[in-house]
Each structure stands twice: as C-alpha cells, then as structure tokens.
C-alpha cells in the first residue's frame, strides 16, 4: 500500500516536472509575445492614462511613467462641456447610420446579383466592383468637391451622405458577394417550389442565412464612416456641420497649443466602442476580411 502511494507520488512528481519543463520551454515565446504586444499596445495605454491626468501631471515625467498619481475624469468633463460636442456627435452618428444603411442595402442587392445570378456582364460587374474598391480617396476628392459644388451640396452633411457610399459600396459588395457564394442555393429553391416569389425567397430564406456577412459589412461600414477624415475636411463647412473627428481637433488643437488631456479623452472614448464591437464579432470579422481579401 505504502509502496504504491510512493509510486503514485513519484509519478505525479514526474508529471509536474514534465509540465514545468514544458512551461519553461514556453517562456521565451511568452516573453516575445509580451514584447510585441507592448510595442503594438503601448500608444493606447499612454493615451488612456494621459486622459486621466490633470494638466500639471501630463507634462510631469518624474516618478513612475506607467501610472497615474491623481486620476481624474476632468478631461472628459472638459470634452463634454465643449460647445457643440453633442452636435458633432449627432452629426457623426447621423452620417454614419445613413451611409451604412444605404450602402449595406445597395451592396446586398449587388453582391447577391454578382455571386448568384448568371447574366451577361456579371464578370465585368465584379471587376468594376474590385477596381472601385481599390481606388484611393485621394484620387477623386478634387473633382468630387467641384461636382458637389455644381449640385449645390457642398458644405452640408448631405455632401458626406452621398459621397461616403462611394468607398463603402465597393467594399461591402465585394465582401457580401464572397458570403453569398458560400450560402447554399437549395433552401431558396425549395421556398420557390413552395410558391414563394424569387424576391420573397431571397429576403426570407437567403438573407437570414447570410446575416453574419451582412453584420460584418454593417460594422465595417459604420466604423469606416466614423473614421473618415479627408471628405469631412474637404466637403463640409461651418462649426455646426463638423463631425467628431475634425470638431475635436479644431477645439483642442489650435495652432500651436494642444490640449492633450481632452484630445486623449476623445481618442479613448472614440476607440472603446469600436474595440468592443470587434471583440464581440472578431471571429466573423476576421473570416470576413479574409473571405474578402482572398475570394472577391
């Protein structure tokens, strides 16, 4: 009896030793991972802790740099008390929502058409979508400003609502056509045999099956709109029409004086919802990018 427990004990010690040895083998790997994570994530951390500091501490580099001595939410208060902050927030939400809904609906139609229907010119259509997806915004904003001016749209938010879809639609169509080509055709055919119209079958059978793709496209569109800078600088005039991005910058980065506290508070606030969305849907999201990047 005593002998067998001794053997068990020995075996257990052996197992622990093996586990420890294996763990030790992993140490360099985790150190490397830690180092890479630090390089990639330090800016966010620095921005975040700066947003919690008082003006005096922001420029004070004595003591532990990675810690906040007197944390406070004063910078966030300053940010919210900025005149028009909530107008800018509303403008950003409005533009992002309108352009996302519009682009996703239009892209579902085009993506379905390219992925599932056989008609003359479908290949050309997919090539056009890919080419427009690749066209950088820097190529077209000069003539677009002129065209918006001709149409009397330059200066207001509608200018953004109609121009953002030019970079959202190609992207979403590309992504969604990749998704639709992976959704099985049979359920839709069954529904039609049962008497549903083709459009009815698409809406009630195929779209629900493609929802991960649609959701990915919507999240992507929303964040791309939220993130946009060039068009909102070039096509919109006046304090009332600013978006969060250029509004916050105009309020806290005046000529040579930068108010780092509120600027970092704004960066933190703007980043958190986006980061949360991606954490929640990351697997689908990564699948979506690679489907888009490799399938077309």
């Amino acid at each position: 009896m005593a002998e067998s427990t001794a053997i068990q004990l020995k075996r257990r010690q052996g197992l622990v030793a093996v586990a420890l040895r294996r763990l030790r083998g992993e140490v360099p790997f985790y150190l490397l991972l830690l180092f890479v994570s630090f390089l990639l994530l330090f800016p966010f951390y620095w921005g975040f802790i700066t947003s919690l500091k008082f003006e005096k501490e922001i420029f004070d580099f004595t003591g532990n740099l990675l810690w906040v001595k007197n944390p406070s939410l004063a910078n966030y208060q300053t940010l919210f008390k900025t005149p028009r902050f909530f107008i800018w927030l509303r403008n950003t939400m409005l533009v992002s929502t309108v352009t996302t809904v519009l682009s996703v609906i239009v892209s579902i139609m085009a993506g379905y058409s390219i992925a599932r229907l056989k008609f003359r010119g479908v290949t050309a259509a997919s090539v056009i979508v890919f080419v427009t997806y690749l066209a950088p915004k820097g190529l077209l904003f000069v003539p677009l400003a002129q065209i918006l001016n001709d149409w009397n749209l330059l200066g207001g938010l509608p200018a953004l609502m109609i121009t953002y879809p030019t970079f959202l639609i190609p992207f979403c169509t590309w992504l969604l056509s990749g998704y639709f080509s992976n959704v099985p055709v049979e359920p839709e055919e069954c529904a039609m045999i049962d008497g549903a119209s083709r459009i009815g079958a698409i809406i009630r059978v195929t779209l629900p099956m493609a929802w991960p793709g649609i959701l990915t496209a919507a999240i992507f569109s929303f964040t791309l709109s939220w993130n946009e800078l060039l068009y909102s600088l070039a096509f919109v005039r006046g304090e009332e029409n600013r978006l969060l991005t250029n509004g916050v910058m105009s309020a806290f980065a005046r000529s040579d004086i930068y108010f780092w506290g509120p600027l970092m508070a704004a960066s933190t606030l703007a980043s958190v919802p986006v980061a949360l969305l991606y954490f929640l849907f990351m697997d689908r999201f990564v699948g979506g990018i690679t489907a888009g990047a490799t399938k077309g």
Binding site: P43, F44, V142, I147, I162, I169, L230, S267, V286
Partner: protein, 320 residues
C-alpha cells in the same frame, strides 16, 4: 420562415411557382437571372457611375484647365503638367509617396510574417492575443494618430524622455516630426504599426488553411521548421500574401490621413505625398486644375497595381 420539405419521391424537376400576387410580366422580370441581375445591380452601379466614374472623367478634364475655386474652367492643354514638372514640390511628392509606400511595405510584410508565425501555434490566450494585436488596425486612424502626435510631441515626448533621461541611450531627443528625415521615418513607423496587425492576421488565416498532412510529411522526412516554412507554408500562402500586399500598397500610395494629421506634408515638403499635395494645392490654395493634375499623375501607377491585383485575384478564383 419555415420551409416545407419536398417529398423525396417528388418527380418534378425544379419548377418555380410564379408569384401569385404580381402580374405575369413583373413576376418574370424579377424572376429570371438575366433581368433580375441587372435590376439588383442598378442602384449600386448608378451611384458608382455618378460619384466615381463621372468625377474621374471630370478630374481628367479639370487637369487640363486653369480652374480656380469659383473661377471658370479654361482649357490650357498640358500647361498644368508642364508647370508641375518644373516644381520641386511635384518631384518631392512623387519621391516621398514611393519611398513611404515601399519602405513601409517591406516592414509591414516582414513584421506581419513574424506575427503570423508567432501566433500560428496553440497556446493559452491565443484568442485574446489575436484580438489585442489587431487593435492598432481597427481603432479609427484619426484617433490613434492623435495619440502618436502626442507621443511625438517636440518637448514632451515620452519616448524621448525614456531614451534620453531615464535610460540615457541618446544624448539628445529625437526630432520626430520637426526634421525632414526623421519625420518621414516617424510616418513610416506609424504606418507600419497600423499595418502589421492586418498583414499578420491575414497571413495567419492563410497559414491555418495549409493542410496539416503536408507539414506532418515534411516533419517525418526530417525537415527543419525553418525549411518546412520556406518550402511548404510560404509558397502556399503566397497568393494571399500577394493580394494583401498589393491592396495595402495601393492604400498607402493614396494615404491622406497620416501625413496630413502628423506633418501636413512638412517640414519643408519633406513628407508631402499625392493626396496631401493635391489637397493643399486645390483646397487650401484654390488651384483646382493643378490639384487635379497632381491626383492624375498618381493614376498610371495605381492602374498598374490595380491590374496586377486583379489578375492575381482572378487567377486564384480560377484555381480554387
């Protein structure tokens, strides 16, 4: 919506019931591939035609005129282009854009490959690591660039503080954005920081699609991990790697946000690039024709890159 199962012995081939409510002609129109295809494409393509194709043609036209903000568009032939070719600004723009794009691409490529290899093994916390490492790429550029702006502050950069005061590695602070050469290096650094996660995660997805049997066979045959990677994994992920690199190159070449926010093209035009030069000429100085000509000079290069990516993507589709 429930789908009534079709009896398995049902001998009828797929015969679609026509929509009951709509008239016969509409039913057919929305039913047949040849008509429905065009109907569904129409809204998107009308928007793209009005707001991409038309502006493109308009840009070509504007680049041959002496248009200023609020002024008439008078045809001047190649004058804008010859005028541009005689300025330093123009040649700096081309050189900077190419330099920025190429150097950043090399670093993103190597870094991305490194990150993908590092993550391509089972370990505790892999999911969390993947999510966190993707952050630089998903956080809105404007706001992450603001943070870098603060990190590069001429007087209160924490990077300089650590390197010069705490660790005493440097004798004087790095002029991140105030000296021409370092400003370009700083821009490249931020671009690489943003791009490495995207390259890494895309490469990782491609690596995980490599069949295990192949790697196993190589291992049994005694190949070193290094050899296995370059002889098996890498050739298999080349198509994905190529497309990712091309898409990123096109985006970097037309980049506006980063150079505009961090340096506005300065100091002394040392970091100005296509989009920034076009912006300052056309919208800040009001020289629409000249600005359009700057955008247009980017076009041939873009066209080549787009055609190459297109061929690559189509070739892949043909194979798979």
């Amino acid at each position: 919506m429930t789908v009534t199962p079709v009896a398995p012995h049902d001998p009828t081939p797929v015969v679609y019931a026509r929509a009951r409510t709509s008239g016969m002609r509409w039913g057919t129109l929305f039913h047949r591939d040849e008509s429905l295809g065009y109907i569904l494409l129409a809204p998107g393509f009308i928007i793209l035609a009005l707001l991409m194709a038309y502006p493109f043609v308009y840009a070509v036209f504007l680049s041959f005129t002496s248009k200023r903000i609020g002024g008439p568009a008078t045809f001047v032939g190649w004058e804008n282009y010859t005028k541009l070719a005689s300025t330093d600004l123009f040649w700096k723009t081309i050189w900077n854009s190419m330099y920025y794009t190429l150097v950043a691409l090399v670093f993103k490529f190597v870094g991305g490959l490194g990150v993908a290899v590092m993550l391509n093994r089972p370990f505790v916390g892999q999911r969390l690591a993947k999510a966190l490492l993707l952050l630089p790429w998903i956080i809105p550029t404007v706001f992450s660039t603001l943070i870098w702006w603060w990190l590069f502050d001429p007087a209160f950069s924490v990077i300089n503080e650590v390197l010069v005061v705490k660790w005493k590695l440097l004798s004087k602070p790095i002029p991140f954005l105030t000296d021409g050469n370092t400003a370009m290096a700083s821009l490249i650094m931020v671009n690489v920081w943003r791009g490495v996660p995207f390259f890494g995660i895309s490469f990782l997805a491609a690596m995980q699609a490599v069949p295990d049997e192949l790697l196993e066979a190589a291992r049994v045959d005694g190949a070193t991990p290094w050899r296995t990677f370059w002889s098996i994994t890498f050739p298999l992920i080349v198509p994905v790697v190529g497309v990712v690199a091309l898409i990123s190159t096109i985006g970097t070449l037309g980049d506006f946000d980063l150079p505009f926010l961090l340096t506005r093209g300065g100091p002394n035009d040392a970091t100005t690039m296509f989009a920034v030069t076009a912006y300052t000429l056309s919208l800040s100085s009001g020289l629409i024709g000249l600005g359009a000509a700057v955008s247009m000079t980017m076009f041939p290069l873009l066209a080549i890159l787009v055609v190459v990516s297109l061929l690559q993507v189509r070739q892949r589709q043909g194979v798979s």
